[in-house]
Amino acid sequence: MAKNLPKTGLISWLTTVDHKRIGILYALGSLFFLIVGGLEAILMRTQLIAPNSTFLTGDIYNGFVTMHGTTMIFLVVMPLSAAFFNYLVPLMIGAPDVAFPRLNALSYWIWLFGACLLNTSFLVQQIPAVGWFAYANLTEKQFNPTHSVDFWVLGVQVVGLASLIASINFFVTIINMRCKGMTLLKMPLFVWTTLVTQVLLFLSLPVITVALVMVSFDRTFGTGFFNPGAGGQVVMWQHLFWIFGHPEVYILILPAMGIVSEILATFARKPLFGYTVMVYSSCAIGFLGFAVWAHHMFTTGLGPWATALFSAATMLIAVPTGVKIFNWISTLWGGHIRFTTASLFAISFVAMFTLGGLSGIMHSSPVIDTQHQASYFVVAHFHYVLYGGAVMGLFGGIYYWYPKVTGRIMNETIGKLQFWLYMIGFNLTFFPMHFLGLEGMPRRIYTYASDQNWNFWNFCATMGAYVTAIGGALFFVNMFASLKFGKKASDDPWDGRTLEWSIASPPPEYNFAKLPEVTQLDDWWHKKYTHDGKRLTPPKQPVVDPKTIHLPNQSFWPIVLAGGITCIASGFVVPANGLYISIAGVALTVASTFGWAYEEP
């Protein structure tokens, strides 16, 4: 059956197991949710443009706060990073696909259905209003009697499962499917940061899985995990959440760090400075990332000794993070720097991430944090690292690899205009938030009085949001228009250093006609240039008849199984008969598993 599925049209996309198509699906999905999350932000900023506004009040505003954070983290940055993992990792390591192509598709469909489940909360007007970190015991049924919190819990649980499955797939792929000669220390840095990210994912996701089950059980079955009256502790949620949540922020930033490393090396025409240190510091960040979680809990009454220990670990993790900044600058130093939209975004990552890192140092001191915690200062910090950092890095990646994926180059004029609008808008919104934090404005408040001295900076921040929105609109115009009108791209339009530039743009379905053999880091560059910069003629890909290369068959089991899992989750959010819906979901999941297992791959 799987062999006879159509190779073009909608069905071919729904049953694809090709990592490149799955990467495109992740990109389109995440960019759609970027618009959703962005609109949520615009609406929030509109409410806060002036004091005493009644545009979005009470739990409606709190719902937007929750959904904006949850969307940007789980439905934008993580899947957009996954788009890059999917498309590029096999190409960069010289592999024909990932280790488990159908499992790869499964991850995507689970993610997409989980995203839809979460956003169904808008349609039924039960928007979760507990913040993206959903502190117990606000999440208990007593304080949130509708299914709003269940939408959040099950939505995050489902998209988390997608990431967990994908992390196992990519970890095996990177360790086990590298082409001949590519030892670990010859892999591109992007593959290294991807590798560390996968480890963080499969070790941290189980912890939040347990926590989410506990909240779900409290709400559905009356257990008392987070109910002090039953012996439970609210602080337990915070510990479990942040044991996941802190590695999660490194999951969000490491892929973008890898992308920036590739872009800067290419556009400076020099190798990444201190490659080995960059590898070790990425591993160190991953490892230490599990030791710092309670810095999100400095004001919960941990006691001075625990507080001091976590503060020390947090300051320590700044060191491997900080050395990267100097390595990136040194990559540019002495180079021949070309300013394209991609490199502009990568350079701005370095600057903005530094600012975010410095404000992070400030609140790594619990003494300072006791003032900063839960104020707009923290909002400024994490937007600088996640937006000025991760999102800018990811945009750079889109501009950089768009030619490889589509065979065309995105318009540079519109691109640079978008970049500047983003830089101006972003800084106009978030730099003043440092001042708002110092002036005592707490987070997650839907309004404020006019005598707090917060008026001017809030107005600025809202203006910045509108500027960003214009930049965002330009980006989407550019992305779609360039598909048709963009300049045609060669195999290697940027004179890149890594293996994906050695094949056609876009690549053939089988990736490499003949799997490459490498002898050094940046092997492709060394096939184009000698050590003293003289041009060589790199070998061309051999011509092969595509019919002779065996590719994995398409399959509809991934999308069906994903439907089964979502069905199980849906049972928790429907007004009635939830148990039967979940049981039906279990039956569909089990049946799909057997169908998958007995299908010819």
Binding site: N176, M177, R178, P206, G231, P601
Partner: protein, 197 residues
């Protein structure tokens, strides 16, 4: 390359699916670690209701632990005979794994129903009970998945006979089964044996 062709070459020499199972096991260590930690924190924090000392019957649990251990021995034998391509012995020992798993699940069902009906310890009775059921229930779910998996291996072998000795799949299933057994050893020690700690 198709999943069959991958068997040819991997960078580490370990087959992809086996490697993936090790990674899954690492992840599950954190899953069970969290559940065990949660149990340890909560076991003595109940406001009312039965306590561990009141409900645990260690003589029965020792039997179920022994049963699961023996099923792991059966698993080792099943894999051995699969590799040796001895059909009937492979099928017999696979069946013994399934049986061992089912017996274990039977013991769990017996224990849970005794707790609920006889001792008044339900899922939401107190926080000790909730934490206990969450941990052992999750483990039981893992055993159930293992039983289903081994059953389908057995049925496939019964249908396809001597042409089907997929020792790679059996080895991966064996890894999973042994892991679930090791988790139970830890649970048995930490939950049942450490009652007075």
């Amino acid at each position: 390359m198709s999943d069959a062709a991958h068997a040819h070459h991997t960078t580490t020499g370990i087959e992809n699916r086996k490697f993936a199972m090790w990674v899954l096991i690492a992840s599950e260590c954190f899953l069970f670690g969290t559940l065990i930690a949660n149990y340890l924190v909560n076991k003595a924090r109940s406001i009312s209701g039965p306590t561990p000392q009141e409900v645990y019957k260690i003589d029965v649990t020792t039997l179920s632990t022994f049963d699961l251990l023996m099923s792991s021995v059966a698993m080792v034998l099943a894999l051995h005979y699969c590799k040796e391509k001895e059909l009937r012995k492979f099928q017999f020992w696979t069946f013994m794994v399934v049986l061992g798993g089912l017996i274990f699940l039977g013991f769990q069902y017996h224990e849970f129903s005794t707790f609920v009906l006889h001792d008044g310890l339900g899922l939401s009775t107190n926080i000790f009970g909730s934490s206990f059921y969450l941990l052992t229930g999750c483990h039981g779910a893992h055993v159930t998945v293992g039983v289903l998996w081994m059953s389908s291996i057995l049925i496939t072998s019964l249908i396809k006979g001597a042409e089907w000795f997929n020792s790679e799949i059996v080895e991966v299933a064996g890894l999973y089964w042994h892991f679930v057994d090791v988790v139970w050893i830890i649970i048995f020690t930490v939950v049942y044996l450490f009652v007075y700690v």
